[in-house]
Structures are given as structure tokens and as C-alpha cells.
């Protein structure tokens, strides 16, 4: 069964057709052949028996009940005719052209009862008919019939009939073979008519699966395969509609976030403009009012950072983020970033000198500022930034000596708004910093990976090619 199933549909169809044809051809031709053969042989047999009986009748009246050898010979010759051979027997003596030992005892016994009996014999390749009978005497006066004791056996060839039957068999084989060929041909055509649509269906399903949602099948005819094609088309259409709907909803959601961020920015711009003024005046305010103003300033700055990060993320999502490439000395750039961000005193820098790379310095700043800022906030000193590299690319690794990242957290640190547990609570960042750093690395054709160091502490590794053009 397994091997049957492993055969292709094509082979299975052909095999089934062939089997069916063989069975039907055998049944039809076989039965016809047997019946024709029987009829022909029967008729030949009957004719031979009647002819022999007729010949025997011609022997009457018999000259004597006890014929001598010459008479027996004459009787045998008369009964067997030209084509056959035969012998006559009387009182243990035989005469004729046939050897008596071909006669079976069963035939002999039957002949002894006075009836005409016959038996088919195979002599060599030929089938022959052996007919035996006892000559009967009829008393003229009393019309009594009594056996004469003279038995006659005639062997008649059935060659003609056998030849007819053979040619019949040959015809049957021939017709069967031709039928088989025709059946195979028909099977091929039928298999094609099934398999071509099946193959088209497979190709279409594959293309659909690969994302070509416009794939449809042409529906031909009204058979089951056409129904399958129609079902495929309906399903594809419905799926396409759903996918389009989902995409539209996703785009709507993203646009909404982008719109909200942009809308928030205008009032924030007004508030941000005056925060420095308020900051200058805090000292002159009554203590509680001063604290309130400081709170407003701090939260305004956080909100600004959040909105800016949100806008940045929506730009990545929209594919609107671009690289402003410049060729820079990487060590120099890193030192400048640490200096501008005020990290120089808190961070140990181990930078290989003289490495030049094509990158977007401001995006590098975003990545490094996020990684170092994170390490300083969440890890423990010493925080180290290490630059290594060669012709293959550059590696910037930021490590700290803190407890490291929770094993469960590692795969999610670059997720948006991912906070590593409630203990962290509200952090300084927007929750988008690492996600944005990751996107910036990707935009450069590079990678950003988070891991724990074997000797404790978290490590973030940024890998960039020396020219982003190489990476794409």
C-alpha cells in the first residue's frame, strides 16, 4: 500500500487503467474464445460421429459375424475413410491402420455396451478424436438388435477446427493487445486532463504562498477540478481581502501614531521653548512653586524625548529614514560623542586608532549614546567602550560590570517599550532607545547584539562594515 501511494498519481492512473483493461479484455475475449472453441470442437465432433455412424451403416448387411482378417481390414478401411485411420476388432483379432493400444479401457467398456462412444486424444501436437462403436446386427424377421461382437475404432484429425480455434485465440490476443494500447493512450489523455489542472493548482498555491496574492486560476468546464479551481480562487480572494484589510489597519495604526506624535510636537515646542526661562527663575520662586516648576520642566523634557523617539520609530517603519554618510575617523568620532554627551569621565575608552569608515556620524551618535547611557543607568561601573576592527568591518562593544541581563530578557531588549522588569520602573529613557539603536545599526547594514559576558555584566556589540555599500 505504501509503495502504491508513493507512486505518482500519473503512474497510478496508468496502472489502474491497464489493470482494468486486462481484466475486461481477458473476461470478454476469454469467455468468447472458450465458447467459440467449444462450439467449434463440439460441432466437429458431432459431424465426425455422424459421419462414422453413416459409414458404419453402409457396411450392412454384414457378410458374417466372424469376419476374417481381410474382412476386418475392409471394415476398418470402409469406416475410417480417406482422412482418418482406424481398426476393426473381432474376437481378439484386430486389423486396420491404427494401433489398438490407443483405446482406453473406459472407451472400450462403453463401446462394449453397444453405444457409440468417443474420446479426445492428444497425439503429438495434434488433437484428434477417437470414435468407437460396435457393429449391430438386426434380425430381419424379429427386428431384434444384437451386438455383432465386431468393434470399430476410428481416429479422426481435428486439425482444421483446431486451426480455426487457434486463429480465434490469436485474434483475441491481438484485439486484447490493441485494446490495451488504446486504453493506455486513453489513460494518458485522461491523466493529463486531470494532472495538468492539478499541476496548475500546485503552481498557483505555491505562488500564493510566496506572497503573490493576485494569483488566480482560470476555471474551465464544470467538473470537479473546475470546482477546486473556483474554491481556490474564492479562498485566495478572501485571503487577499483579509491581508489587505490587516495591512490597511496596520498602516492606519502606524499613521495614527505618526500623526499623534506630530500633533503632540507643536504644543511641546511651545512648552520646551520656555523651560529654560523657567529653569532660570526657579531659584526666585517660593520653594513649593519652584519644585512644581522643576517637575514640569523635567516631565516636559521626558515627553519631548518620547515624542521625538516615537517620530523616529515611525520614520523607520515608513522606510523614510536615510543615511547621511560621511567618511570619519571612528575613534575620533567616538571620543567626540563621549565628550559631547558628557560621558568621558565615566567611561573607559579602548579605541583602535586610525580606523576610517563610511557612516552617518549622527546615527552612530544615537547608537553609542543609547548603549553607553543604558550601561551607565542600568549596569555598574566600570563601563567600557571598545573599538576594534580591520578591513572586514568595525566592532564597537559597550560593556558594564553590573549583574548583566536576565536570560529571559536578552531576546527582547531591542523590542519597543520593553522594560526589563518592574524593578526598573520608569526609566530615564522613552523605552524606544535600544529599538532605535537597533534600527540605526540595521540602516547601516550592520548588526547590534545584546549578550552577557562570561565574567558578568552586559555587553552590547555593534558591528558595521567600513562602507555600508559593501553590506548591501
Amino acid at each position: 500500500m505504501r509503495s502504491w501511494l508513493t507512486l505518482g498519481l500519473h503512474a497510478r492512473l496508468l496502472l489502474a487503467f491497464a489493470l482494468l483493461n486486462v481484466v475486461i479484455a481477458t473476461a470478454v475475449a476469454g469467455i468468447g474464445y472458450v465458447r467459440a472453441r467449444d462450439a467449434i470442437v463440439q460441432r466437429a465432433q458431432d459431424n465426425a460421429v455422424i459421419e462414422t455412424a453413416n459409414r458404419m451403416e453402409k457396411l450392412f448387411p454384414l457378410a458374417t459375424r466372424t469376419p476374417d482378417n481381410a474382412a476386418l481390414m475392409a471394415i476398418a478401411g470402409e469406416v475410417s475413410g480417406r482422412e482418418g485411420s482406424g481398426f476393426a476388432e473381432s474376437g481378439g483379432r484386430t486389423a486396420g491402420t491404427l494401433r489398438p493400444d490407443v483405446v482406453t479401457t473406459r472407451l472400450r467398456a462403453e463401446v462394449a455396451t453397444g453405444r457409440i462412444a468417443w474420446q479426445r486424444l492428444s497425439v503429438g501436437n495434434a488433437t484428434q478424436l477417437l470414435i468407437g462403436s460396435q457393429l449391430l446386427l438386426v434380425d430381419e424377421a424379429s427386428r431384434d438388435v444384437s451386438p455383432s461382437g465386431i468393434e470399430v475404432y476410428v481416429l479422426r484429425p481435428l486439425d482444421d477446427e483446431i486451426e480455426v480455434v487457434d486463429s480465434l485465440a490469436w485474434d483475441a490476443w491481438l484485439t486484447g493487445g490493441a485494446g490495451l494500447m488504446l486504453a493506455m493512450l486513453l489513460a494518458l489523455v485522461a491523466a493529463r486532463s486531470v494532472l495538468v489542472p492539478v499541476r496548475r493548482l500546485r503552481v498557483a498555491a505555491q505562488r500564493f504562498g510566496e506572497g503573490d496574492l493576485d494569483t488566480r486560476l482560470s476555471v474551465r468546464g464544470r467538473d470537479e477540478l473546475a470546482a477546486v479551481a473556483e474554491t481556490f480562487n474564492r479562498t485566495a480572494e478572501s485571503l487577499q481581502r483579509h491581508v489587505a484589510e490587516l495591512r490597511r489597519m496596520e498602516a492606519d495604526a502606524r499613521r495614527f501614531v505618526a500623526d499623534v506624535s506630530h500633533e503632540l510636537r507643536t504644543p511641546l515646542a511651545a512648552m520646551t521653548a520656555v523651560t529654560d526661562l523657567l529653569d532660570d527663575e526657579v531659584a526666585t520662586l517660593p520653594p513649593l512653586a519652584g519644585q512644581a516648576v522643576s517637575l514640569v520642566i523635567g516631565e516636559t523634557q521626558k515627553l519631548t524625548r518620547l515624542v521625538n523617539d516615537l517620530i523616529e520609530v515611525t520614520r523607520f517603519d515608513a522606510g523614510a529614514a536615510g543615511l547621511a554618510l560621511d567618511e570619519v575617523d571612528v575613534a575620533e568620532a567616538l571620543r567626540a560623542i563621549l565628550l559631547v554627551r558628557g560621558f568621558t569621565d565615566e567611561v573607559t575608552a579602548d579605541l583602535v586608532e586610525g580606523l576610517r569608515a563610511q557612516l552617518d556620524p549622527r546615527r552612530l551618535d544615537v547608537i553609542v549614546a543609547n548603549l553607553v547611557g543604558n550601561a551607565l543607568r542600568h549596569g555598574e561601573p566600570p563601563v567600557t567602550i571598545r573599538l576594534t576592527g580591520g578591513p572586514g568591518g568595525l566592532v564597537i562593544e559597550v560593556t558594564d560590570a553590573g549583574p548583566g541581563l536576565d536570560r529571559k530578557v536578552v531576546p527582547h531588549v531591542f523590542d519597543r517599550f520593553f522594560k526589563a522588569g518592574p524593578a526598573r520602573g520608569r526609566s530615564e529613557g522613552s523605552g524606544l532607545g535600544l529599538a532605535i539603536a537597533w534600527e540605526n545599526a540595521r540602516l547601516h547594514g550592520g548588526t547590534l547584539v545584546a549578550a552577557n559576558r562570561p565574567d558578568g555584566g552586559a555587553s552590547f556589540t555593534l558591528r558595521l562594515s567600513l562602507s555600508p555599500g559593501d553590506a548591501r
Binding site: 515646542a269 526661562l277 521625538n308 523616529e312 523614510a320 560621511d326 567626540a336 559631547v340 556620524p361
Partner: protein
Amino acid sequence: MLDEQVRRAVARMMDMPRVLLIEDDEGVREGLRIALSHQGHAVDATGTGEDGLALLTTRGTAAVDVVVLDLMLPGMDGFEVCRRIRALGDLPIIMLTARGDDIDVVAGLEAGADDYMVKPARARVLEARIRAVLRRVRSDQVPSGAARTAVEHQGDLCIDRHALAVTKRGQPVSLAPTELRLLLELSASPGRVLSRQQLLESVWDQGYLGDSRLVDACVQRLRSKIEDDPAVPTHVQTVRGFGYRFGPL
């Protein structure tokens, strides 16, 4: 009103830059006006480009030291306003853009803006930028090149470092403050390559966190004014992968 007049007088006396602020959103306009006034600037704030241009034409460009211009304006857009202010004179222009609208930044710089700031902008940062663009037009801080005469001849260009005037084959070349400053910086050391970062630091006061497109856009504008064929520059040459170089001719 009196207060404003006093402030204007004080600003002039204390050498505080007078600012023309063109911003359509009332909240942002007020916030920036308050903040800049607090820093000691005399501020004229208008809600449309048309009003701002009208103010400049009636009072003259000398009445204003620097323009802070929002790009998203109703009616005449910020780019057009920028171009028209450039046509009026060499006023420094700082444009305010929405974050992440890169195309706006490039278009704004091409329209002639000297610098840009992303909103929301803090008053101290804006103040620093104003100082930076104004510093570019003051002769006392212009690099003069050691042991050089005030007037230099570089091919067909004549650069007067004291008068801050540039002539090309005797014809005066009108340069915006940043363009002039960039030219002075590059020509102070002919043949030496200056990276975009170095130029950002010396011309824009920004260094590594600056946008190198500022340099590129300004170089383009400068070339269009001093080169015979801006596509084949001879004065300000690009050194691929490193930066820009003045000459050699």
C-alpha cells in the same frame, strides 16, 4: 509697547541680536518670543511669511540681525520666504523644521538657510545657534591666516578679510554670512583638506553632532557664486572620503 521699545534700545546698546521670528503656531511663536526676549533679544514675531517680508522691506534688513523661520507656513511657504529674504540681503537664517523631515532640511538649506533646528527647540540651544550664525559675520573672529595681508588674491578671487568683501575679477560677489565664513575658513589654509566635522565645528560651532549636509549644501551655494563652472570646481574642491580643500588652483 514701551517695554518692547526699551528692550530694542537695550538690545542695540548691549549688542544683543535682534531677531525676526516667523512661526505660524501661536503657542510656539509666543514660547519662542518669550524665551528669546528673556535672553535679552529684541524679537519681532509674525505669523506668516508675508508679514515677515513686509516687516523687512519697511524697516530694512539692517533692523534685524537674524531670522528664525518656520518652514511650515500657511500661504507662502518657508522655502519661498527663505529665497526672498536671501534676495533682500545677507541676513542669517535659521529654519525650524519638523523632526525627521529630511527633504525639508535639504530643500531649506538649498533655499539659502544658514542652519536649521528641529522642533521642539530649547531656548538655550536656539540661542547658541543664533550666536553661531552671527559669529560668522564678525571680522574679529574670522581666521585671518598667520602673517597674511588682509587682502588675498586667490586666482581670480580677491578676499578682503578686514572688509569681509569678496570680488571675482573685480566684480563684488554677494555671499551669505555662512558662505563667507566657509570661504574664509577654507582659504585660510589653501591646499589643506578640512573634514566636514572640522568645518561643522569651526563654521557652525557644531562638531560631530552637526549635520554634514549643512556643509555640503553651503559648499554647493558657495560654488555657484565663486566658481566659473560649479560642476568642475577649482576653488572649493571635494576630496572624496575626507572633505573639502581650497585650491590648489
